[in-house]
């Protein structure tokens, strides 16, 4: 294989290769063999140990060791346990889980059954957002096929093990992806998180021990049994084994779904796999971890991507969104954009997240309008830190990341906004000024005739003037002037 191939398809091994609506093609691609082998050749404890040894960590964001989680649920005594697949995928722009369910639904079904065997559950639930109709369709088809083949239901592989799966639909609230909120929502309650402990593994769905894993986490499970824990652990880094699927988006040439071994650097992802920045612009920042991840910069480009490195750099793995920004992006606006999302998506249960994020947003808004002060920057930092320190669930505990990381990495940009009332990227509308460059103006009146608020004055063949107090920064004059006589700053 040539040197520049950076991707390995593990979780996506069948996506784009097999027909997702054919169980035969899945079986031809080693499907259900892992389940068969686990059920006939391994005890639940041995199978769980295999997952522990593989070093697999949860792909839903937290990065908790999957095997350890299974082991906790396995050890809790209970008459009934549940396996839940988290397919809520609420990060804007992320579609890793959707792609897996659309391209290879059987891998998730197989993994859930293995999980059920390991922890002693005979019932699985997939919590999927209702906005994923195709994924739901394919999952349903796959469930029917698996039942028809006897790979779900009673006495699977003649071993006496029973397992079946139901689908539950999410209403599309981001916070419902948080596992305790997800369980509340499945129980018919308001989808809001509750504090942990108790963890779902102790008391989850209907108060019973419940193991919740992400779609991509599950998709990795069958491979681990087919190829061995050692094989899996040989991919990636020591503490983060295997691969990670990312949805590459933003100002990058090859937008799309990629899967790279843990430890690949951001540079490799962006410039080699992603084909670099669009239109030859300059790279500015990359945001990982979904709406509450951090914005990393040039200096992080050679950091190998894994759970711990990303956290250390002030961002996080999240579920795998990766958005690339170029020189035209204003980091204050970027932070404000993400805060806007969290303010909308907070469940409103705890004070710091409900009110605090709103105040963070308002402070950013003031700053981006050029009305901020240095004092506001101090407030921004203190508030962000308190929200992280005091919020109830992962949403609030991470929502200030976009603000704090941009303050850390792009401090000058914040200063420019508050001290000079200037937006270096020219994005903050309120800070833009359109001015007539007097040397170039020939007095053609094109700008004045096109100004929607009539704020440009000047006689024909004389130099024109823009009344700044009335200007709405629509940019019409800039576009219409054929003499380069309007400047933007």
């Amino acid at each position: 294989m040539s040197e520049n191939i950076k991707q390995i398809r593990v979780a996506l091994r069948n996506c784009g290769f097999i027909n997702p609506e054919s169980i035969d093609e899945y079986i031809a691609a080693d499907g259900y063999e892992a389940l068969g082998r686990v059920l006939t050749e391994k005890t639940p404890e041995e199978a769980t140990k295999e997952i522990i040894d593989s070093g697999l960590r949860g792909r839903g964001g937290g990065g908790f060791p999957t095997g350890v989680k299974w082991d906790i649920a396995r050890k809790v005594e209970s008459d009934q346990k549940y396996v839940v697949c988290n397919a809520d995928e609420g990060d804007p722009g992320a579609f890793m889980d959707r792609s897996i369910l659309e391209g290879d639904p059987h891998s998730v079904i197989e993994a859930m059954a293995i999980n059920g065997y390991c922890i002693g559950a005979d019932k699985g639930l997939v919590y999927i957002r209702a906005e994923y109709p195709l994924a739901i369709e394919r999952l349903k088809t796959a469930l029917d096929q698996a039942r028809e083949y006897g790979l779900l239901g009673e006495d699977i592989f003649g071993t006496g093990f029973n397992f079946d799966i139901e689908i539950r639909y999410g209403a599309g609230a981001f916070v419902c992806g948080e596992e305790t909120a997800l369980i509340n929502s499945m129980e018919g309650h308001r989808g809001e998180p509750t504090f942990k402990p108790p963890f779902p593994a102790q008391s989850g769905y209907l108060g019973k021990p419940t193991n919740v894993n992400n779609v991509e986490t599950f998709a990795n499970i069958p491979v681990i049994f087919n190829k061995g824990a050692e094989w899996f652990a040989s991919i990636g880094t020591e503490k983060s084994t295997g691969t990670k699927v990312f949805a590459l988006a933003g100002k990058i040439n090859n937008v799309g779904l990629i899967e790279v071994p843990m430890g690949t650097t951001l540079r490799e992802v962006i410039f080699e796999i992603g084909g670099g920045i669009k239109d030859g612009k300059k790279f500015k920042s990359v945001q990982t971890g979904g709406p509450s991840g951090g914005c990393l910069t040039e200096k992080h480009l050679d950091t190998p991507i894994d759970f711990d490195n990303l956290l250390e750099s002030g961002s996080m793995m999240g579920s795998g969104g990766m958005i690339v920004m170029d020189e035209d992006d204003c980091m204050v606006s970027v932070a404000r954009f993400y805060l806007d999302f969290t303010v909308e998506e907070s469940c409103g249960k705890c004070t710091p997240c409900r009110v605090g994020n709103k105040r963070l947003y308002e402070l950013l808004d003031i700053i981006s309008k050029g009305n901020g002060s240095n004092n506001d920057l101090d407030k921004l930092r203190n508030l962000g830190e308190v929200i992280i320190d005091t919020s109830l669930c992962g949403l609030g505990q991470t929502s200030p990341n976009p603000v704090l990381s941009t303050m850390d990495n792009f401090w000058d940009e914040y200063l420019a906004h508050v001290e000079d009332q200037r937006c270096p990227a020219g994005q903050c509308k309120d800070l833009i000024r359109y001015e007539v460059i007097e040397e170039n103006c020939v007095g053609c009146t094109a700008c004045a005739r096109n100004c929607p608020v009539n704020c440009i004055s000047g006689e024909r063949k004389e130099i024109h003037h823009i009344d700044q107090s009335l200007c709405i920064k629509c940019g019409a004059c800039f576009e219409k002037c054929r003499f380069n006589a309007i400047s933007v700053s």
């Binding site: 609230a173 916070v175 308001r190 809001e192 509750t194 504090f195 402990p197 969290t342 303010v343 909308e344 998506e345 907070s346 469940c347 409103g348 249960k349 705890c350 004070t351 710091p352 409900r354 009110v355 605090g356 994020n357 709103k358 105040r359 308002e362 407030k379 203190n382 508030l383 308190v386 992280i388 320190d389 005091t390 919020s391 109830l392 505990q397």
Partner: protein
């Protein structure tokens, strides 16, 4: 139980495994502030949503701060409750809460009793560094409760009471993020929901987001009107709690001072709802014995158990949630309404007044009574039997506004004839009291033997559901008691399923009965206060010369002069009522809303 050691603010304490940091700290007299947390231990009501984040503390080795109300101690844990990190976080969280709160303390109904206000004082908030948009909601005026959600801090205590304790299920968190608020579904008004007006949400709301509708001005206006004869009745539970509003110990009985205060307020007649409670026993007792007699005689059309009906919160509850069972409760009106009906007929005739020139005011521990006054069946020609119902808290305000030094008042007696009552009437104020009062009279009437011991201790207590069997001359009368609507629901579901073995059941909507009513001085989550009030009620009972309702001379006279027989025609007209199927009402209204 396994013991563990924890260090809080450098002091060691040994606690049982499963103790929260908050509880462990209290053992050391370290009072970590809380807002959303609420614990009514005796009633098995614990609320710890972990939402306000005021109670956060620093735990050695933990990444973020821990909510002490919801975090269990572990062995060797080291906790700091006032490090600079904690103090800064706590202050910031408090400022955030205040930044989304109207600054109306000077004119607020809750001022002086508001947990949010006290917290701001405790934390020494002098400045709010984070300011911005405030969330606003449409105010909701119902006949009994005012919802001003601009003042809601999302502690969710009301939700706990309404959904889990009362199982009414009207209030729940709706909307997301900054707009999140507690409200009936679709942000409907309470008046268009299944709300029973039990007032338990009001009783626990730390702020003025939920308050009772204030009727003190209407009462003042009536008192000032020379053309009106203003009669006041005071419910039994009021005397056991009113003192708290004037700084007295919980459980102080202030019957005499209360009467004196009402007289100074210039009510024309100061009467006692206890009188009407005795009347209720006459009617309800007769009904129990009548139905029981028929049942024992083998009449298949008679349904048992008989359920008490003196609590309007409970009445609404079964009208909404168990309309199919509405033929089981006694048809006796509540004491408040019996009083009003008798005052505006028998007593009106006595003093030669037209009912239109009379104003009947009730002082109640209750929010539902405000609503009950507005029910159409309790009016004659548009003139209500009871004009205004004030809560215990409103009476305290009225007394303060009239410049009366309550603590220094002499003890005075109620006026006759409707001020005369027995110990049986008094115990209506607590859970178990109504059925004990009924038992005292029913026993003597049924067995025709005098009761040598009037105290039925087996009916007393605070457990949510209690049962006892009383020997009625060889017949074992099975009695059930439930307080709190969630407990009532359990008994009712049993009845619906045909599994109930009781002959008579007492139900009160409020945990503890009326002593824990929604109109009482706020207990701020301290259930010791309720227990003290209960003791006071039984003290008042045992101090009364007459302790059985049917021996009340004024009641005897009322029947002789006016009503005739219990359950007789006149009694039926004035003292009984009927119930409606409200289950359907809500569905229909919801449909209409959707069509609009």
């Amino acid at each position: 139980m396994e013991k563990i050691k924890v260090k809080i603010d450098n002091r060691l304490v040994e606690v049982e495994k499963g103790t929260t940091i908050l509880e462990a700290a209290r053992k050391l007299d370290v009072n970590i502030p809380t807002l959303c947390y609420m614990n009514l231990g005796d009633m098995d009501i614990e609320h710890r949503p972990g939402g306000c984040r005021i109670c956060v503390v620093e735990v050695e080795g933990r990444r973020n701060l821990a909510p002490s109300c919801a975090t269990d101690c572990h062995d060797g844990m080291e906790v700091k409750t006032h490090s600079i990190r904690v103090l800064n976080a706590r202050r910031t969280v408090m400022e955030l809460m205040l930044s989304d709160h109207p600054f109306e303390c000077l004119t607020c109904a809750k001022s002086g009793k508001c947990d949010l206000q006290s917290m701001a004082i405790k934390l020494g908030i002098r400045d709010i560094h984070y300011q911005g948009e405030k969330s606003t909601y449409k105010p909701d005026f119902s006949p009994a409760i005012l919802r001003d959600m601009d003042k809601c801090i999302m502690c969710r205590r009301c939700e706990k009471m309404c959904n889990e304790v009362q199982t009414v299920g009207v209030l729940s968190g709706i909307y997301r993020g900054f707009e999140a608020v507690v409200a009936p579904a679709f942000e409907r008004d309470l008046d268009h929901s299944e709300c029973t007006y039990c007032g338990q949400c009001v009783a626990v709301c730390p702020t003025a987001a939920l308050t009772e509708v204030d009727h003190t001005n209407q009462v003042l206006r009536a008192l000032a009107d020379p053309a009106k004869t203003v009669v006041v009745q005071t419910a039994p539970a009021v005397r056991a709690a009113l003192g708290e509003e004037f700084g007295m110990e919980p459980g102080t009985l202030v019957t005499g001072k209360m009467v004196a205060a009402l007289r100074q307020l210039e009510f024309d007649y100061v009467f006692d709802t206890d009188f009407a409670a005795d009347l209720t026993i006459m009617e309800e007792g007769a009904e129990i014995l009548g139905r029981l007699g028929k049942f024992l005689a083998g009449d298949k059309d008679v349904k048992l158990p008989v359920l008490t009906s003196c609590c309007p919160g409970w009445v609404s509850f079964f009208e909404y949630h168990f309309p199919d069972q509405r033929d089981i409760p006694s048809t006796a009106r509540s004491p408040q309404q019996m009083f009003g009906a008798v005052a505006k007929t028998w007593f009106a005739e006595k003093i030669k007044k037209d009912r239109k020139d009379m104003v009947v005011v009730s002082i109640m521990p209750c929010v539902a009574k405000k609503y009950e006054c507005t029910r159409e069946e309790f009016a004659t020609g548009g003139n209500p039997d009871v004009d205004y119902s004030l809560s215990t808290r409103e009476l305290a305000n009225l007394i303060k506004r009239a410049n009366i030094d309550f603590n220094k008042l002499p003890d005075e007696d109620f006026d006759g004839p409707m001020g005369e009552s027995t110990g049986a009437g008094v115990i209506f104020g607590t859970t178990g009291g109504v059925i004990e009062a009924a038992t005292r009279s029913a026993y003597e009437i049924y067995t025709k033997k005098p009761l040598d011991k009037v105290d039925f201790k087996q009916l007393r207590g605070m457990e949510g559901i209690r049962e006892a069997t009383v020997d009625f001359n060889g017949f074992p009368l099975k009695i059930g008691i439930a307080h709190g609507l969630g407990n009532a629901r359990k008994l009712l579901e049993n009845i619906r399923a045909g599994k109930s073995e009781f002959h008579a059941i007492e139900i009160m909507a409020c945990p503890g009965g009326c002593i824990g009513g929604g109109g009482q001085p706020l207990h701020h989550g301290n259930s010791e206060i309720l227990k003290a009030r209960q003791k006071a009620i039984y003290r008042e009972d045992s101090g009364k010369p007459i302790r059985k309702s049917h021996e009340n001379p004024s009641i005897i006279k009322l029947y002789e002069e006016y009503l005739g027989e219990p359950l007789g025609e006149k009694a039926h007209q004035l003292l009984h009522t009927r119930y409606f199927d409200r289950g359907r009402e809500i569905v229909i209204e919801a449909d209409v809303k959707e069509e609009q």
